[in-house]
Amino acid sequence: MSEGAAAETANVVDRFVGEHHHDDRIDVDTEISSAQATRLLWRCLKLLGCAKSLFAAKFALQVGTLCFQLLTPWIAKIVIDNVILQKPIGATDVPYPPFMQPIVAFLDGMTPLEIMFALAMGYLAGLILIGMRAGEVSVGLFGSSFTGQDETAAAENKISGAYSESGGLWGLAEYAVGVRLSQRLANELRTRLFQRLTRLPMAVLAEKRTGDSLYRVLYDTASIPWAALDPTLTLGTAILTGAANMVLIGYSYEATAPQLVWLAWAVLPLVFAVTFPASNIMRRINQTKRSAGSATTNAMEETVASIDAVQSLGGMRAEAEKFASRSLESYFRERVAFVVGLLLFIGAAVAVVAIGLWVVIIVTDGIIEGRMSPGDFGVLFGMFFGIVFVPIEIGSFWLNLQTKLAPARRIFFFIDYESDDDHTGTALARITQGVDIEHVDYAYPDGRTALADVSLAMRLGETIAIVGPSGAGKTTLGCLIPGFLTPTRGRVLIDGQDLATLDIDAVRSHVAYVFQEQSLLAESIRENLLLANSDATERQMLDALELAGCMPFVREMPDGIDTPLGLSGNTLSVGQQQRLCIARGLVRDTRILILDEPTSALDPETEKALFDAMDRIAEGRLLIVIAHRLSTIRRADRIAFLDDGVLVETGTHDELMQRDAGAYRRFVELQSRDAGP
């Protein structure tokens, strides 16, 4: 590390601790302010409310474990002093703590071998009850984190992670309660978050990458149980342990080694002083490490998700190299974190060891000078480290806090995010008239205008075609109707009522929107249809499939309507997927049906068949078709021609074709020129 010129050293140092964002899409801010951290922590803690009884049970079991732990060193002392060294019980000046008195009284007067026999029997009972001499219960799966795991697997491990410092029956019970506790917390949050994510406004979901990041956010929930349990359970128990040891040292050793008592107090601030700066450094290192890890995952997910594009463009080698270099980088970060951690540990250890040596000197002096007996050494040393352990535990809590709160921030960001659930209002039982769009503007979050002063009235029974060049705002206009987007100015009225005052779910139950890009779930065709309308009957499903022209290929599938589709339906051709998506829109049987470029991937004959059927569908409904194709557009009752966010013309095909310099006419001429002989 230290070789090379100064500049290079600076460079290396920069690499070690620098705040590089390998992929700034994840964790844009590396620092969480203290105020923010407190708020996040508080929200994590509030989560405990959903698992009160499990939490209470775990805490009680943990305190029980602590009580047993306090007993153990004193028994070891009896083995050394009164059995092996054969001293009579009560020969030294060190008084046993009150809870040991009954045991000491029971053993008093026995021969050393009798004492040992009694203790062995006690050990056996303790073994069954609390796993005395057998050790703790903790189960970790999978390999070491240094070789890397994917985030979801690590998350699974964290969600079900628990421990008990007891063994035996007690330990098993504590472990089981612990696993259930963290699972309960994670599941509660995970479900709540999942629900919120499905309720995000449509504008947020526009990008495909969003899907991937949302998925990751959902796995962030794994960190939250421990963000809530560490400051309560773990720290609570550590502090109790420290306090108990502090009291016991005072009780038993005040007379024989008063220096130890004040040393025990003095060590607290000292260890704090060492651990806190160290934790701060580690926090930054870990942050860099984590973002390097996410960059690797990102590189891979992106490659796999777009594998067809990558392959067809000949990008395999470049992608593999990109992945390899990011992976190496993340390994490097892991090792840096390890080395820095080790150095800091050594720094802290030197301080602790120095104090430890001092304690050894004090205790051995006491033993050599006969004030204490050899058995006291184990007891005292154990107690002393029980006390030193408290600031170390708090320091490591502080160290890991950021690691745990970074995901908490992402989670609560989405939970707090504006959601469809915020749009409540009058429930609309049914739609009887239609939709009026009044002077609507829409601007993207980045300020670009998508729609400017658009007004359009649409009635049930009509078929409206929204036409215009790409980027004219057609889809935006369509998205206003089911409230996927909210106009920045103007109103959308449904049956004369402002959409903003209506219950959004009720409105959407009357609107089916078929998107431009086809997106099928990797379930059976039936499941895909049921997703849209869980009450759909077999008849309705088959009708919808028939209308959308799906039956020819559905019939050929091995299990017909129950055939599972591959990832995103890609065992089907794009045209087939598109037809299934249309069927999915139809099966909902809503008053308003919006088809956004429904036929761009269909061959003209299928399209024609579909639209012949559409005439039947359109009866009593408002059918809105966003399209480029003339053959589709011509069938509409009314055509709304959009250009650059402005509604330029409306009317029937014939009306618009009458206008000599009309935008629509020019549009049609460009297309139909091709059809001429």
Binding site: V139, T147, L214, V310, R335, D365, T475, S519, R673, A675
Partner: protein, 647 residues
């Protein structure tokens, strides 16, 4: 994944399978093997040295400092103290209890502590260094594996990717490579190290008393039985856990990607319900697996503890009787363990714990290995993956200059029951545009997939000039063919990055020229940062027409002799389409261009139109001649444009 692994077909663990795994992993381990040997050798020496030092330290601390026995001669030399510290008759420390004075004990204490501190300074960095070395070695092994897997997965034909879910593929490569590394580590290295430590502990126990060592060995029998008994249960639960978790993961990811559709169809309630069910199933599976391991571990540690408690009682009996240890007298110049005493008690107890809890650790590792073994077959799946498309041993160079692309009697099916191409004969010459037309499912996309050698034909040949594609290197073919897919994929990065994605060191001028051909230059310049605008999450929202033009530019910038455009104009409005097609014609003078499209306005620009039906070209010719032929193409065009338009 779902449905293919059930509890009924638990993969059997056979030693042969494990060895096979080691063999398969060997290429990835081999580069690190010498490091691994060096590491293990050093680790073995260090633990031996630490145990020996521990023996000495326990004697010094317990017997000399705490109790006050006199030193062994060698100990006095090491601590630089005079004869008065040393036992008079070293053979006989049984009857006469010579003791150190208080000040002598303090001197011994202080000097021993200086030694301890000194050793700490030497040993701590050594151990830290070994741990670092260990981390680095396994990271590099996993890196080798991971990179190979990724490269492999990318070379696999689309057959594989169309059959499985992205979620599962990610799960496989990324996690399974870590699993394979862990597996090798935990199957071979971990147990070897644990066994070494157990043997070492038993050897030290023999120094005190062979019968205790024997008791420890006997205690391992019920431990092994318990582990064997629990194995089947563990494996069932590990499998159930993995299946439940993998289902949750892949379904979740899919829903997240398709959220827009879920919302548009008001399916939120339905997916939430299912998510909750999946989530609980996964958590229950995780719980029962972990509880099984926990119970097993509690059971075997109880056996270990039982033996420890019994042995302690016996040792105490020996200490009280001042019984001689087995070999203590032989080492009496160094260590005061000739008879059982406090130090001997402490050290023997420690070594016994080392042997017994080493064994329980192995049982625990065995339990965890069951989980890894479940992943073993999956690991093989990954390691066994061979790309279906392989390069010839002696590849021919890519023919230059390009004259023609020919399909000769080509047959192909993804699924033998459903033939896609059934005898395609077609020639496309340099400088022409060929439009491939036909109903959905007619085999249009498949036809060009064969040209890219994403698949090989089942029968017949695809030729470039006169060279069969199978005689060319896959990389050369893909180097010579650019394709704009129907699905407009954007990568994270700037607009310029996206256009230049597949080109080799693209210059900005080339990128801009390509964008102009694709009619994308105009709107790109209107973006906030022009060509440097970030796409993806924060890149503003490109319309699908704009994305399509970027995809086009991405294919064009590569300037390859063959260009395939799959529905290049589906998302373009009429004006843009006309412009793009005009540009393309000017640009493609010395190239073979294929269009796969439905749009008549696009098709009529082609020099040659191939009308595919049920995997066969039924009509071939230009727009005019096919229209006049009054066949399938004619009715297709009529349906597209509508009979009644007369402007």
């Amino acid at each position: 994944m779902r449905g293919t692994e059930t509890l009924a077909d638990l993969p059997p663990i056979r030693a042969r399978r494990i060895l096979q795994l080691a063999l398969k992993c060997w290429p990835f381990i081999r580069p690190m093997f010498k490091h691994l040997l060096l590491l293990l050798g050093n680790a073995a020496l260090v633990s031996l040295a630490l145990l020996a030092l521990g023996l000495l330290g326990t004697d010094l601390f317990n017997n000399k400092i705490l109790v006050g026995d006199k030193l062994q001669p060698l100990q006095a030399q090491l601590l630089f103290v005079d004869e008065s510290f040393v036992l008079g008759d070293i053979a006989d420390n049984v009857n006469e209890r010579e003791v150190l004075t208080e000040s002598q004990r303090k001197t011994v204490r202080t000097r021993a502590m200086i030694w301890a501190a000194g050793l700490l300074v030497v040993v701590a960095p050594l151990v830290g260094g070994l741990v670092y070395y260990n981390i680095w070695i396994w990271q590099m092994i996993n890196q080798n594996l991971r990179v190979a897997m990724i490269a492999k997965a990318e070379h696999l034909s689309l057959k594989y990717h169309s059959q499985s879910r992205v979620g599962d593929a990610i799960f496989r490569i990324y996690q399974d490579s870590a699993t394979i590394t862990s597996l090798v580590q935990e199957t071979f290295v971990g147990p070897a190290a644990a066994l070494y430590n157990i043997v070492l502990a038993l050897a030290f126990l023999c120094f005190f008393e062979p019968r205790i060592a024997l008791a420890a060995v006997f205690a391992m029998v019920p431990m092994i039985l318990a582990a064997a008994w629990a194995t089947r249960l563990l494996r069932e639960r590990a499998l159930a856990n993995r299946v439940a978790f993998s289902n949750l993961t892949s379904r979740l990811q899919e829903i997240m990607i398709a959220l827009r559709v879920v919302k548009a169809n008001k399916g939120e309630g339905r997916v939430l319900e299912r998510f909750d069910k999946d989530s609980h199933r996964a958590l229950d599976a995780a719980f029962s697996l972990r509880m099984t391991i926990a119970v097993l571990e509690v059971a075997v540690t109880a056996i270990a503890a039982l033996v420890t408690i019994g042995a302690e009682y016996v040792i105490v009996y020996w200490v009280l009787g001042e019984r001689e240890t087995f070999l203590g007298a032989a080492a009496v110049t160094v260590i005061g363990f000739a008879v059982w005493n406090l130090g001997a008690f402490e050290d023997a107890r420690e070594r016994l714990g080392g042997a017994l809890f080493g064994a329980t650790g192995l049982v625990g590792a065995w339990a965890r290995l069951q989980d890894l073994f479940i992943g073993l077959e999956r690991a093989f799946y990954l390691l066994d993956l061979e790309a279906d498309i392989v390069d010839p041993d002696h590849p021919a160079p890519f023919p230059e200059p390009l004259e023609s692309v020919t399909w000769q009697n080509v047959h192909f099916a993804y699924d033998p029951a459903l033939p896609v191409l059934q005898g395609v004969d077609l020639v496309a010459r340099s400088g022409t545009i060929t439009a491939i037309v036909g109903g959905s499912g007619a085999g249009k996309s498949t036809l060009v997939s064969l040209l890219l050698r994403l698949y090989d034909p089942d029968r017949g040949r695809v030729l470039i000039n006169d060279t069969d594609l199978r005689r060319l290197r896959v990389d050369d073919i893909r180097e010579g063919v650019a394709i704009a897919l129907q699905r407009n994929v954007l990568f994270a990065g700037t607009v310029a990055d996206n256009i230049g994605y597949a080109a080799r060191r693209p210059k900005r001028a080339d990128i801009e020229a390509a964008a102009r051909v694709a009619s994308a230059d105009g709107f790109i310049r209107e973006l906030a940062n022009g060509y440097d605008t970030e796409l993806g999450e924060r890149g503003g929202k490109l319309s699908s027409g704009q994305r399509q033009r970027l995809s086009l530019a991405r294919a064009i910038v590569r300037n390859t002799p063959i260009l395939i455009l799959d529905e290049p104009t589906a998302a373009l409005d009429a004006e843009t389409e006309v412009e793009v097609m005009r540009n393309l014609r000017g640009w493609g003078r010395d190239k073979v261009v294929f269009l796969i499209t439905h749009r008549v306005s696009t098709i009529r620009n082609a020099d040659q139109i191939v009308f595919l039906e049920q995997g066969r070209p039924v009509e071939v010719g230009d727009h005019e001649s096919l229209r006049l032929a009054d066949g399938r193409y004619r009715s297709f065009v009529d349906a597209a444009v509508g009979e009644s338009i007369r402007v």
